[in-house]
């Protein structure tokens, strides 16, 4: 069949060109980021990654506050999103009556379709005031002696960014977790029931036996999403290029600083420093997504072998 017909040959070549075209674009993107970062890499070297200063006037640049902000806000997002998403996945797959399954998962997955700027607006007008008045102010008042919850409270903060991000990544973790739960062999569930296990014991055991790598993969996938999210984070994180230990204080993320400062970056070095932040972000998200894919693929392969 293959190669017989000249039209088929042409079609095969054409699709190959498209496929390699996509790959080529990714490589080109990476090469461009590297080329544009060269001035900043030459000037600051590896110190760029661990320097706290961000001073466009003196042309002294360090990416640490942004790396810190991206990692911490994403970590907060995972802390909130993983239990919620995994819990919902368990509910939908194991407990919800048939008629409820599809509407619930449809609505939850619809969260992924909302444009991030809408999340940002909702964050500014609803989430930030609510968090500030109902959570951060009382917490800073009573628990302010713990460095993590130290005031003063403004509203826009690392916590606000983390909470908003968590809502945005729930649909991804939820849908992957549901798929992971669905790969559990029926016989494994029945084994637990046949020994006199309760529904809860059944879920606990099959998750421990079969789902931990998959749920970890789902988590890393959510992390990949959270790391790169720009608009919504920019609108609620506070945009201060400093490092505060308290999650009630403002911060800044890698994506946010690029979005905010790119148009006003005047000097070549300033521009180059922003591009280098982009390069670091590219590498971090690339590694996170690669790890997630790797874990999930091994999982699927093992499920295929019936393990």
């Amino acid at each position: 069949m293959r190669g017989d017909n000249p039209k088929d040959v042409l079609f095969e070549k054409a699709t190959a060109v498209f496929a390699f075209g996509v790959l080529f674009l990714a490589v080109l993107l990476f090469a461009l980021l590297v080329r544009e970062s060269v001035p900043a890499i030459r000037k600051f070297g590896a110190a760029f990654l661990v320097t706290k200063t961000w001073d466009p006037v003196a042309e002294n640049f360090g990416a640490l506050p942004f790396i810190y902000g991206t990692l911490v806000s994403s970590f907060i997002a995972l802390l909130i999103a993983v239990p919620l998403a995994v819990g919902s996945a368990i509910f939908i797959n194991e407990f919800a009556p048939e008629w409820l399954k599809n509407p619930v998962s449809f609505l939850a997955e619809l969260l992924a379709a909302i444009p991030s700027v809408i999340y940002g607006l909702w964050g500014i007008f609803v989430l930030v005031p609510v968090l500030r008045d109902l959570l951060m102010k009382p917490a800073a008042h009573y628990l302010g002696w713990i460095p993590l919850f130290k005031g003063p409270v403004y509203g826009p903060s690392m916590l606000a960014a983390g909470v908003l991000l968590s809502i945005m990544i729930i649909p991804f973790i939820l849908s992957v977790s549901r798929e992971v739960l669905a790969t559990v062999p029926r016989l494994q569930k029945e084994a637990v029931l046949s020994l006199g296990g309760t529904h809860w014991e059944m879920i606990r055991i099959v998750i421990g036996q079969h789902c931990i790598p998959g749920i970890f993969g789902a988590t890393v996938l959510g992390l990949g999403r959270a790391l790169g999210e720009t608009m919504a984070v920019t609108m609620v994180i506070g945009n201060r290029p400093e490092i505060f230990f308290s999650i009630f204080q403002p911060g800044y993320s890698m994506a946010a600083v690029i979005a905010n400062e790119f148009t006003e970056a005047t000097g070549q070095l300033y521009l180059s420093a922003l591009v280098e932040i982009g390069l670091v972000l590219f590498l971090i998200t690339f590694v996170a997504n690669l790890a997630a894919k790797g874990i999930l693929n091994t999982m699927v392969a093992r499920a295929g072998r019936g393990l």
Binding site: E98, P185, L187, Q188, K189, E190, A191, V192, L193, S194, L195, G196, G197, T198, E201, I205, G208, Q209, H210, L307
Partner: protein, 253 residues
Amino acid sequence: MENALQVKDLCAWFGDHQVLKNITMDIRRNSVTSVMGPSGCGKSTFIRCLNRMHDLTPGFRVAGDVLFDGRNIYSEKIDPVLLRRKVGMVFQQPNPFPRMSAFENVAVGLKFNGKKRSRAEMAETVEKSLRMAALWDELKDHLGRPGSSLSGGQQQRLCIARALAVEPEVLLMDEPCSALDPMSTAKIEELIEDLSDKYTIVVVTHNMQQAGRISDYVAFFLLGDLIEMDKAAKIFTNPADKRTEEYITGRFG
């Protein structure tokens, strides 16, 4: 009481499709009863009714009574979780928990329902169960190996040990040898005979020779009906129903 289980007019449906029709039979205590019949005759569905294994299957419905210790297991007063501790089950495919060690696989049921046992008590029960499942000598030095690393026959005996550890009265076995080689099959059959001194065993099989070798009683199912049930010798030498005779002489099925 000499009957461990009494089934009265049991009917079962998956959705609109009726798979069991008015099954009535007594299952004698401390005996091996084989449930035999061609594919699709409802024999697996039937034994899964005896420990309410269908409870989580959407669209499944039963009517009629299954009396265990004189009480209907489908009555609202019966907790299916407690019932299944008394009526254990071994499945067609060996299904040990792959990431648990052999020891943990056998001990897992002991930890259910919040029962606390000391480490020593647990080890004792695990040894006893593995001995009963004729697996102790092979495994006693490898109790830490994961369940998935054992051979198919060992996995199935591990599953039998796991079921015995929670001290059931009845053991249901759904074609326990169909995934095994002849050597492992012979071991499991021998085991079934030994266990019937202490346990009531119900085995589903589509293998007549096997039913002949291990059974005290044989029930023959066809298309959801119980055609006849009698002592094994009677069924195989002088069946009352023509259809049974046709089946055992290999004219269909």
